[in-house]
Symmetry: C2
């Protein structure tokens, strides 16, 4: 036995016990005749103590231990003279009587501390050392917990875990596929799945009425910050269900995850339509941790001779609570912020509703006291608040004010990482219309069912057809989305056609699914959550990369492995391939 206890478990009760322990040398300190070594493993840190007077050789050996050496020690648990309240094992220390060095370590290229001196590139190259840091370890453990409780909840709800294949057929479903050349079928390729969408629908046709899988998915995208070429979905599908049953089942899932992983209980998950989300929050993934809804100010702002408003398609505002106290500098900084190219507003108008009752706007030349009063009324501002206004083209202004809302909340610390506010957003449009190419794209994917009451509009006005689709947003981030699927071959054909697939295309790519619909396909629907994303959001992080043990960088490289890499000509020959 290498060890009898780990480094997280010794308490005052253990005083007097003989123990054998293993771990890494976190740090050592020489204090007069004593040497202290912090021994670390996955479970915590234990302080080891060596006394020069009672055992000089051993103490000398301890002084020669380098950082990150792997050691085994034998010793006796003793009470600490000064208790460390910040450590689980802070009541005790271990008086060592034997050290065995299991493996030495070169000095690591960065410190194994929460606040490390290692830059991003260095940490990624030595990811196996980065993973030793407590801050990274917490994320990896959180992910393991989330995955486990997801499975336990879904099993409890009667879901079967069913694996679907990774080597599948290339189909143009949104992003680019990664492909895998076949050696046994030269000139042909498998594709890696962007999602198991068609397989889970086939499983519904097969009668497995509650399916789930925590599954790797792949997208060959041009890399953006915080996208990974491989990512993990909690993928689920149900048969003989309507939207209501799906929303109930999966708000149960998110409640369960938050409770098991974070100890947080949440109430019922509110719902809003896509149109309301855009109107009130300027986004389809609203952050509900704070209010600050968007107000339409057109009726009180337009027609007063102020050209910025009069020439705008829309005039929108948000009320900043307590904003009347903002300094000139704070306001200028926000104005600069909305004018950045990423946001793209041409300017920002403000109006302070002072505690004194006096109102002061940045456009007082154009609007008198009664106008400002009407602004206050319509926006629902109180004394002490400030109204921020953006005007311009409808869609860009909605987007800009939605972003401004989040930025103001950031600055006012309204986005508390310990508060969790999930929300269902429903009734998405079925199609997005691309003005440039005059083509329709599926907003979710081509298998999403239109709402029955909008079926007629498929012919007359496809743009206004609503989908039986729903997303879950948590704290301003989309963490999952899904829909009721089409289960009728003719309707599926029609939607494919509207999306620009010819019948031949549709048959070539999804023939097996369309054929399956002819053999008794039940009504069905489902959802997929981003596991990486859920972990990031509930840990209050912006980056999914921190929750992946071995992530790739923004150019899709694994810098630790140095992958991708060249392969041998023999390998290429066997595949019947040439590189250009």
């Amino acid at each position: 036995m290498y060890r009898t206890v780990n480094n997280g478990e010794l308490r005052k009760d253990h005083v007097g016990t003989e123990v054998t322990m293993c771990g890494w040398v976190q740090k050592s300190r020489d204090l007069g005749g004593m040497t202290f070594v912090d021994l670390r493993d996955r479970y915590g840190i234990t302080q080891l103590v060596f006394n020069m007077e009672t055992n000089a050789d051993l103490c000398e050996a301890a002084r020669n231990l380098g950082r990150e050496f792997v050691i085994q020690i034998k010793g006796k648990v003793i009470e600490r003279s000064s208790i460390n309240q910040d450590m689980k094992t802070g009541e005790i220390e271990v008086q060592v009587n034997e050290i065995i060095v299991l493996n030495k370590s070169k000095t690591p290229p960065f410190t194994i501390e929460d606040q490390t001196d290692g830059g991003d590139d260095l940490r990624m190259k030595y990811r196996y050392l980065d993973l030793r840091r407590d801050s990274v370890k917490k994320n990896i453990i959180l992910r393991s917990e989330v995955a486990f409780h997801t499975r336990a909840y879904l099993k409890n709800q009667g879901f079967l875990e069913i694996e679907t294949p990774v080597l599948i057929k290339s189909t143009p479903e949104g992003a680019r596929d990664f492909v895998v050349p076949s050696r046994l079928n030269q000139g042909e390729f498998y594709a890696l799945p962007q999602s198991p969408q068609t397989f889970k629908q086939l499983l519904m046709v097969s009668g497995y009425d509650k399916y789930y899988q925590i599954v790797k998915c792949f997208r060959d995208e041009d890399f953006r910050a915080d996208r990974q070429p491989e990512f993990t979905q909690i993928d689920c599908e149900m048969a003989f269900v309507e939207t209501e049953e799906i929303l109930k089942t999966f708000e149960g899932l998110i409640k369960n995850i938050l409770f098991e992983a974070k100890g947080i209980k949440i109430d019922e998950v509110p719902r809003m339509t896509y149109l309301d989300a855009i109107k009130d929050y300027g986004t389809d993934k609203p952050d509900l941790r704070f209010d600050m809804k968007i107000k339409n100010l057109e009726s009180v702002c337009k027609g007063s001779g102020f050209n910025v408003f009069d020439s705008a398609d829309t005039v929108l505002g948000i009320v900043v609570p307590g904003g009347a106290n903002f300094t000139r500098k704070q306001i200028d900084s926000l104005t600069d912020w909305v004018k950045r190219p990423q946001i793209g507003a041409t300017g920002m108008i403000y109006c302070k509703f002072n505690e004194t009752g006096e109102n002061k706007s940045s456009v007082d030349k154009f609007f008198d006291a009664s106008a400002l009063h009407s602004w206050k009324e319509i926006s629902g501002a109180n004394e002490g608040d400030m109204l921020l206004i953006l005007a311009g083209k409808t869609s860009s202004t909605i987007n800009a004010i939605g972003n401004l809302r989040l930025e103001v909340a950031n600055r006012l610390n309204f986005r508390d990482p310990n508060v969790f506010k999930p929300v269902w957003v429903t009734d998405f449009p079925l199609f997005e219309f691309d003005e440039e190419t005059e083509t329709y794209h599926a907003m979710h994917h081509p298998f999403t069912s239109p709402k029955i009451e909008d079926l007629e509009l498929l012919n007359s006005d496809p743009k206004s057809v609503r989908a039986n689709a729903y997303d879950m947003a948590l704290n301003g981030t989309e963490i999952g989305g899904g829909s009721i699927r089409i289960h009728d071959k003719e309707l599926q054909k029609k939607v494919f056609n509207l999306l620009g697939f010819s019948d031949e295309d549709a048959h070539e790519k999804f023939g097996f699914l369309m054929e399956a619909f002819e053999y008794g396909a039940p009504p069905h629907g489902g959802i997929a959550f981003g596991l990486d994303r859920i972990c990031a959001v509930i840990a209050g992080s912006d980056s999914i990369r921190d929750f992946i043990a071995f992530p790739k960088n923004n150019s899709g490289r694994d810098v630790m492995l140095d992958a991708p890499s060249k392969i041998d000509k023999d390998q290429l020959d066997e595949l019947g391939l040439e590189t250009k």
Copy 2:
């Protein structure tokens, strides 16, 4: 709500209840004025009843339902006049008052029955219909259960589930890699993992001392029967452990799986060395459901002037219990069986030890009564048994007698599919020596540690070095294997060199692992089980394909999807590739 109950749950207690149900039409029968429809879903079958006298229209509608139509019905639970003991719902039936056809079905290309009329190719093409059959459904559900209880057990033992990447670097670890061309790094390729071996070792270096993952692995092999290009492993690794702790932990896993999935309790898992397994059973994956150990008969068979024995390297036998009753025909059939090219014996000698005390062999010309008596003594045969003897070159005779042992057991029904006998086989040789190329191959993989006491032999006699490696066999099938790993850079280098890697090769392929060993690598070891294989063995099946929802055929094709397939020239251009 589409349904208030499923088709598996109605019992006598529910009589009188109004229900709404959904499912597929399994079959219908018209009996005089009554029509009976069996409604099927994942949970079972419910008998629906329609009465021509009381509701002619509805009864007519029921008669028009085709096989595999998806319907919703409303009705009332009534008691059956004749109870069907074979069905969970056999006490009741549902008197229907409304039918809604949710989707029609064409006549399926084969019957959805356990004994279907569909051939293999047809069932694979319409796998989504094949999956509806009860016999296939049981397998898929078993797999889901095995996976769940594996996770629950390992979590309970303190294991973390950690995902490792699918897009990795190509390394020549046994079989061929599947590769994935990179678009963003043209001319370079990712590889799909044959196993997460190096990653799990890195996780040990990172301090995650108990890791597991149920993970897809990929091998581009020339397809053999019952091999799949993608398969699933239960992959595990532990740090600060010796063999004993690993064997204890994972025999716990297999006990847990057998108990949870099959309700079977087993005792401690026996252990034997590789050499003993070969000696006693002629294989490193012995079936311990029956005894019939191999006996070495050289001392009593050689030197009597019978050339077959005298010229043989070895003479081996097995005792067939009750075999004295075998007919000439039965013996001839076994002789033919061992002479098949797959077994390759030149002949078989037998000796019957009759109940009467008289012994009779097929070589009485050469061996007298006292010789036969010594055969009986040394083989431990009883009266009524028969001794079967093979002779020839050592390794082929061991192999042949091991196979004969299984074949005799098959014929005598000694291989009861409801009995489970796992066994650990330990102390495998570290290397296999390829006589043809005069090179060493790793018997497990190049990361396996030699036994400490055999370290010296690495220089003097590599062939005789034993590995710290262990396999688990269950009922004659290898279901898992693993080893204590090398955690010392110099030892790893030496093993790579013996395996024919130059230092440059080793650095090129596994540089990151060797480098990691310099930063405090702990002692570690692990194991991987084949999930597909475990499911097959515990269901008493020979084929892993039956336990995979969407398997590939023996040429690596998914005939349902028609994958692999050609891809567009645009896609190839983006990847910088040309097919020859």
